[in-house]
């Protein structure tokens, strides 16, 4: 079977329409591990590495539109990082420099791993995913694309082409726990996003559920306990209360990386710390 290396998005979409069973290779940092270990035997590969339309980013009003082939290294560039600080913080925790040079945000969405590092951020900022097929395009909230562990709602023949992320309108945090700082798959992670304009706080947890976990009741609880005019929390007990609420919202499992109880414990601390840091920074 051939490896297809299209140079235009339209060619990639036509190829996928002809054969929806093609394995789509974005960065390849997940797919190739499976291939090397004989767990995946693709009948054919569609590589997106040479499609310039999927690279690059631009600002559209109050959103950044990231091509799906934007790498983690790209997300660390100062121009992007200052607009999307939580996404940059998450990108910096992915693997090592060579992995960050290779892996892409579109691949993180398509792989839909419960431990995907950018996913809690994308859920917290309510990113929109642009999806295309030979038949047309659609824009879908990320929470309706990443729907289960390693499961997306992409239809046969569809590709993620871009991600629309709101420009930060307040402090943002991303925190992650693993066995070391580098090269680590998250045991638990937490993205916290403050929007000073709309006066809301959103929070999504990673690696403690089949998909990133949000608790809108806890977010509303928190929102009502912020002194928005004074730019601070109404009382220190809010930090503890929020940590407890997010820990309760987590749905962790025991696995070879960590027991569920540890993950829940870690989430309580991460949520608390993220809140403290966000408000210190504002």
């Amino acid at each position: 079977m051939p490896t297809l290396v299209p140079r235009r998005l339209s060619e990639a979409l036509d190829a996928l329409a002809d054969d929806p069973s093609l394995t789509v290779l974005a960065g390849g940092t997940d797919v190739m591990v499976g291939v090397n270990y004989g767990q995946r035997r693709p009948a054919g590969v569609l590589s997106l590495r040479r499609v310039p339309e999927l690279r690059g980013w631009h600002v559209d009003d109050d959103e950044v539109v990231l091509g799906s082939a934007t790498t983690y290294t790209d997300l660390l560039a100062p121009d992007l990082a200052r607009r999307l600080p939580a996404l940059a913080a998450a990108a910096r925790t992915v693997g090592s420099p060579p992995i960050r040079n290779t892996g892409t945000i579109g691949g993180n969405i398509g792989t839909a791993s419960p431990a995907g590092d950018t996913l809690p951020v994308l859920f917290a900022v309510e990113a929109q995913v642009e999806v295309a097929s030979a038949g047309g395009t659609r824009t879908v909230p990320v929470s309706e694309v990443v729907v289960g562990p390693k499961r997306t709602a992409l239809a046969a023949g569809e590709l993620v082409t871009a991600v629309r992320v709101p420009v930060a309108a307040g402090p943002q945090e991303f925190l992650k726990v693993g066995v070391r700082n580098a090269m680590v798959i998250a045991i638990a992670s937490c993205a916290l996003v403050v929007d000073l304009t709309r006066r809301q706080v959103t929070c999504a947890l990673g690696s403690v559920g089949p998909v990133p976990v949000r608790d809108t009741a806890a977010e509303m609880w928190l929102r009502a306990r912020v002194d928005w005019d004074g730019g601070r929390l109404s009382h220190q007990s809010v930090v503890e209360g929020f940590g407890r609420r997010m820990a309760a919202a987590a749905r962790p499992i025991d696995d070879h990386r960590a027991p569920a109880a540890y993950r829940r414990y870690a989430i309580e601390i991460l949520a608390r710390r993220a809140l403290e840091r966000a408000w210190c920074a504002s």
Binding site: P6, G27, T29, M32, N36, Y37, V45, N101, T102, M183
Partner: protein, 176 residues
Amino acid sequence: MVRVVRAEAYELVVNGVVRRVDGALETESLLRVLRDRLGLPGAKNACEQGECGSCSVLVDGVLVCSCLELAAAAAGCEVTTIEGFAPEGASAGAEPSDALLTDVQQAMVDAGGVQCGFCTPGFVVAIHDLLDRVPRPTGPEVREALAGNLCRCTGYGRILAAVEQVVSVRTAGPAT
């Protein structure tokens, strides 16, 4: 036109030389093709999951783990392996010679950063990549840049010392 690369025959540009790859399997990684088809064993095969950095190479000037690159999808890209760094190490099968080391390789030798040597090619590629981008990295920048390269012998101190040596020589002003 969709470029179709057939695994049975395609071309890679390795260390500036067009190399024909014959008979590779569809799913072979760049690492396997370099080592097993093209006779370039400098990039080492250890984890095959991007964890250890011992297979580090540059593809179109970008540091990557060659085990995570699908070789057929890299057709037409410029691949630089450790064999391509030292002045005369580029040709396949050339014997390594002490006299033909890069400054990074020499510093690794001088500082005792090479013990069993298995991780060394990956470190050397990663150190060259770092110092080409950031000529005077801070200590934390060096550690972050090399965080994807594992060494089980040295404890890293001597490798970090080698980086320091290269930086101090490269950034020294002219002798007065």
